[in-house]
Amino acid sequence: MDSTLKDRSYKYGFTTDIASDTAAKGLNEDTIRFISAKKDEPSWLLDFRLKAFALWKTMSEPDWAQVNYPKIDFQNISYYSAPKSSVNKPKLNDLSEVDPELIKTFEKLGIPMSEQKRLTGVAMDVVFDSVSVGTLNHDLLDEYGVIFCSISEAVKKHPELVKKYLGKIVPPADNFYAALNSAVFTDGSFCYIPKGVKCPIDLSTYFRINAEETGQFERTLLVAEAGSFVNYLEGCTAPQRDENQLHAAVVELIAMDDAEIKYSTVQNWYTGDKDGRGGIYNFVTKRGKCQGKNSKISWTQVESGSAITWKYPSCILQGDNSEGAFYSVALTHDKMQADTGTKMVHIGKNTKSTIISKGISADGSSNSYRGLVKILPSAENARNYSQCDSMLVGNNCSANTFPYMEIRNKSAVVEHEASTSKLSEDQLFYLMSRGLSLEESISILVNGFCKDVFKQLPLEFSVEAVKLIEMKLENSVG
């Protein structure tokens, strides 16, 4: 296919000129003590960090993913950057305390941090570089006893909860990046839904990397007590820069008896330019544990950004009758590389998991699905259904599927379907010769391909996701 590459405009590529408090580059125990002191942390948390750091030093970077990049110099990154106005001010009481430049940035991003947000039915936490700069919509949440704040604030106000769950789902020893994150994480969101509470509004965190040569290491911890329900949304963008930046987050979810967590992400980190210069390295560990019986966790992700994506949101299905789901659309274009998928670990009886993965690769990009379905001997009558579809746009891209299965119980029923198709000029022409413009035709084709995933997203998010994918694809098929 004729893939005329216009300059792909990344509308979030601007930077904000804001005074920030940034740590010197480099990583050693002092860096960690510096971060911990900046955040005025209790000693148990500093210990947690230092142990993780000691572990990290013994580990090596994973090399099994289908991605290629020059070795990262971990000493050439700054591990802490905070907008000056918010330093030593972990909680904002009202918006007048937020730096006006920062508010402008978020307005440019389409996130008005104003009181209006109250009306849209979303509570939002905003993380700028290393710190949370504002959590909105407290009153309603307070009424229901829902805790939603930055993790730094949670460490201070709810230390017993953080201590109980932090690092329990993703232990620091889990992998290289989880260990790194545990040592140097700077902020993120904390969310606690009490017993029996259906969270009245969607919770949302918006991540933004702004400073140069910094990494973002955020940590999200979400606890859903018995019988509770929460819909959680996450969005990310970063400025357009020539050098690569590292984003290594850890997200831990835990669902007790009959609780349900729906976690959705629209990831639009800067992808690098068409020659592969710059862009975010997105190395993320996300895991949810269905600890209680009948609990449910679903991960829905639309991955449309980052130079490199290495991400496997997973579910540990421990409670009997618990259910895990992974719905993913991953789009790669230009020189992007994505190796993404999931792990479903069945431990409890009658556990169920569903995996729907849609990969779209365009231009010279590489897009891989990697998934593990593991059924332990204790998991009587476990069920899994996996469907992995790839769509190729053009002739220079590649799509791979790496499904792994480990079945150790005979009663398991595991189904796997996979397909690869090509978005062809003939299909576009056929639709166009029925009166549909190029944009409408791409939209119909992409929607048709991704609808099983898009329908899992909350409506507003779904509209945004569809537009995002269309906009990025138009440049590859124009």
Partner: protein
């Protein structure tokens, strides 16, 4: 309705149409016949605006609101919105895209362009059902992926269904009869006949005289080597049937 002047078309540097002239008035039915490789299908693709076909000279003037406009200056979708419809010889399969959603999107695009109001969900469904009945297409096909796994005959019926739904002014049927059994041919032909009207022109591209028994043309043109070499009335079809194309 349509006036083609000295149309020359290349595919990959090979000249396929070598100076085509043709005039079609509103309400007329023209049949285009001719041996394989004479440029018949190229003709339909060029009218549709397929990007692989390069027009090297000539113009295709099409009447829009009493004014002639050169189709070659319009995008494929704009031509469709102005009422040019090609029923393809090989309709494309599009997995994942529901036939019904596609019909709806296409119908809405045309409504929007014409400034008429879109139909409600219920009214649209009733309309589509009517059109499906016209071509005797089982309604279950509406809810399947577009053309995916349809038989040859079902694909052709789905093309005529689209044509009936969009109510174009210029219909080009590219070998719609090929691959159809007698029953399907009858049904499709009846569908086409029901669309004949004073302000709609129809072009039938075909190899076989058989189709012209069902849809009576006003003119028959014989394509040979990228040009029209003979034009006549429907008796020409019978003559071709018995004598072949070599005598021309």
């Amino acid at each position: 309705m349509l006036e083609i002047k000295d149309l020359k078309v290349n595919i990959e540097d090979k000249e396929v149409l070598k100076g085509l002239n043709l005039k079609i008035n509103p309400g007329e039915v023209h049949a285009i016949m001719g041996p394989n490789g004479s440029g018949k299908s190229t003709f339909s693709k060029v009218l549709a605006g397929h990007p692989d076909y390069k027009v090297t000279s000539g113009e295709i003037n099409y009447e829009i609101n009493f004014k002639f406009k050169n189709l070659l200056e319009m995008e494929a979708y704009e031509r469709a919105l102005e009422g040019v419809f090609i029923a393809y010889q090989y309709p494309i399969e599009i997995p994942g895209v529901s036939n019904y959603e596609f019909l709806r999107a296409s119908f809405n695009a045309v409504c929007k362009h014409q400034g008429t109001e879109e139909l409600s969900d219920v009214d649209f469904e009733i309309l589509v059902m009517k059109k499906a009945k016209l071509v005797e297409l089982n309604p279950s096909f509406l809810y399947r992926s577009l053309n995916e796994g349809f038989s040859g005959g079902e694909k052709k019926r789905n093309e005529i269904l689209q044509m009936a739904l969009l109510a174009p002014r210029l219909c080009i049927l590219d070998e719609t009869d090929s691959g159809l059994d007698i029953d399907s041919l009858k049904i499709v032909s009846e569908g086409v006949n029901s669309l004949r009207s004073e302000d709609r022109s129809i072009v039938l591209i075909t190899h076989y005289q058989r189709l012209l028994d069902y849809i009576q043309p006003d003119f028959i043109h014989v394509f040979k080597n990228g040009r029209i070499v003979k034009t006549g009335d429907k008796s020409l079809a019978l003559e071709l049937e018995s004598k072949g194309y070599d005598w021309l």
